[in-house]
């Protein structure tokens, strides 16, 4: 029984991390209708920022997190202006844009591999090997910090979307881009900001992940499928769905991992994707499939 509670808590904490990772992806899809296949490699870049700041300056990854976020915010702006601005203007989903993100993923992967080599790394602040022990429950500190901070950040994101003017503009653009544009929303700017925020979220989650998992550039391929599954599961573009899906699936995956072996825990996400496609293709919270 205590084992089950422990697995549950770990699942929740992991869910927080995955939810944060996937939230940027959902946001970008909602506003720009772009499936950003380069999102996971941006998470890895964020992890590298935290890693090097720790290696070179001894900066705690939790403190490096805002820096990683800011760095990726800038990278997002550059990427948007260079690559996506033209496509985003067309306001309609296009496969070509997905391929663009795929190409960007390859470029970012190749750049990271060339610069840092494809070896496994992990940031190791002193608490990375500690654990909180509450009665019989054993929770690794790294997981706890990463999960808790992720959940706080998600809360901040939701508050931003709900209570600020830009958040209002983002929500309106997600629902109906044309209408929002006609009512005075500067959709081009909203797209730019959303992409940058999404990238920043990727960077932040990367910094948090850097001391929980070991990472290397090619790991992003694994995460693509996981994050994408979460986005589809939740209903494309629905932040609530993505977050809920992340927690639910991570909890299930945690149990699967404990009782069936770690390799099978990742498959949970993919199998869930296929089940959802069979049973409810629009995802948990999505609108019924209509033509794009």
């Amino acid at each position: 029984m205590t084992n089950a509670i422990q697995v549950l808590i770990l699942g929740i904490l992991l869910g927080g991390v995955y939810a944060l990772m996937a939230s940027g992806l959902t946001l970008i899809f909602g506003v720009m209708r772009i499936v950003n296949l380069a999102h996971p490699i941006m998470v890895i870049w964020g992890a590298f920022v935290a890693y090097w700041l720790f290696r070179l300056y001894g900066l705690d990854p939790l403190l490096a997190m805002p820096l990683a976020a800011a760095f990726m915010f800038g990278v997002g702006i550059v990427l948007y202006k260079l690559v996506y601005a033209k496509e985003a203007a067309s306001a309609k989903y296009s496969e070509m844009t997905v391929l663009l993100t795929f190409a960007v993923a390859l470029v970012l992967d190749g750049a990271a591999s060339t610069a840092f080599s494809n070896t496994q790394r992990v940031t190791s602040p002193p608490y990375a090997t500690d654990a909180f022990i509450i009665g019989p429950i054993y929770i690794p500190t790294a997981q706890l910090y990463a999960g808790a901070v992720s959940i706080v950040l998600i809360g901040a994101l939701v508050a931003f979307l709900q209570f600020t003017r830009m958040g209002y503009a983002i929500r309106a653009t997600t629902q109906n881009r044309t209408a929002a544009g006609l009512l005075g929303v500067n959709v081009a700017f909203v797209s730019l900001i959303t992409f940058a925020i999404g990238s920043a979220l990727a960077g932040a989650s990367g910094a948090l992940v850097s001391f929980v998992f070991s990472f290397f550039p090619s790991k992003h391929w694994e995460w693509i499928a996981v994050l994408m599954s979460l986005v589809v599961l939740g209903g494309m573009g629905k932040l609530v769905g993505t977050v809920v899906g992340a927690f639910v699936l991570s909890i299930i995956a945690a149990f699967v991992g404990t009782y069936a072996g770690a390799t099978w825990s990742t498959i949970t996400f993919f199998l869930a994707l296929f089940v959802i496609l069979l049973v409810r293709p629009q995802g948990l919270f999505g609108d019924p499939i209509e033509s794009e």
Binding site: A172, Q175, T178, A179, L183, G184
Partner: protein, 243 residues
Amino acid sequence: MAELLEVRGVTAGYGNGPSILNATSVTVRPGQIQCIIGPNGAGKSTLLKAICGVLPLREGAVMLEGERIDGLRPDQILRKGICFVPQERALFGRMTVRENLRMGGYIIDDKAEIERRIDDVLVRFPILAERAGQLAATLSGGQQQMLTMARTMIVRPRIVMLDEPSLGLAPKIVEQVYEIIQMLREEGITIVLVEQNALIGLRNADWGVVLDLGKTLFEGPAGEILADPRIQELYLGRKSKAA
């Protein structure tokens, strides 16, 4: 009467495609209801999109009271007082009627003022007032059109441009839509509308413009355009007996 809006020699098209508008010129005078008719592909919708900044111009200029507005973003043109109601109604289906109206006041900073104007509008549109808490997607086609047009009143524009307001609506609803158009005009708003249903469009307008092949071919008081035998044969589907 001085011109309010002037479209001068505008050439425009979509993407890298051919030019739909070819050096088109149209003038809009204040306080009028102007109806633009013409066949499919003539450029009627393209003209409206070019004016409101959704489509970039390849040549020419758009002037609002002598000031150039071409090249501005759609949200900037809205702030200048030109409101565009597209064919696809452009409502937020998952927001309520009230929230849609609130969105209509997006460019207004004073939140209290927006609420006052919403209440004002709901008084004039009792059907919408009844459904103020309903999701826009659950309204009927006619009610959605009503909502879209009521929404323009929140921002108190000078010009409202409507792209095929009668599209897909039953005749009785179309009558209601045109009553609302008259209501807008009584508020002092100048109306430019594009209609494929040339008959109903011209009957309810003051001034008619015939657009074909991307150019303004004919122009005049709506009644005269309606009665012109050439127009009747080309666009209203009547064979004229007279030479």
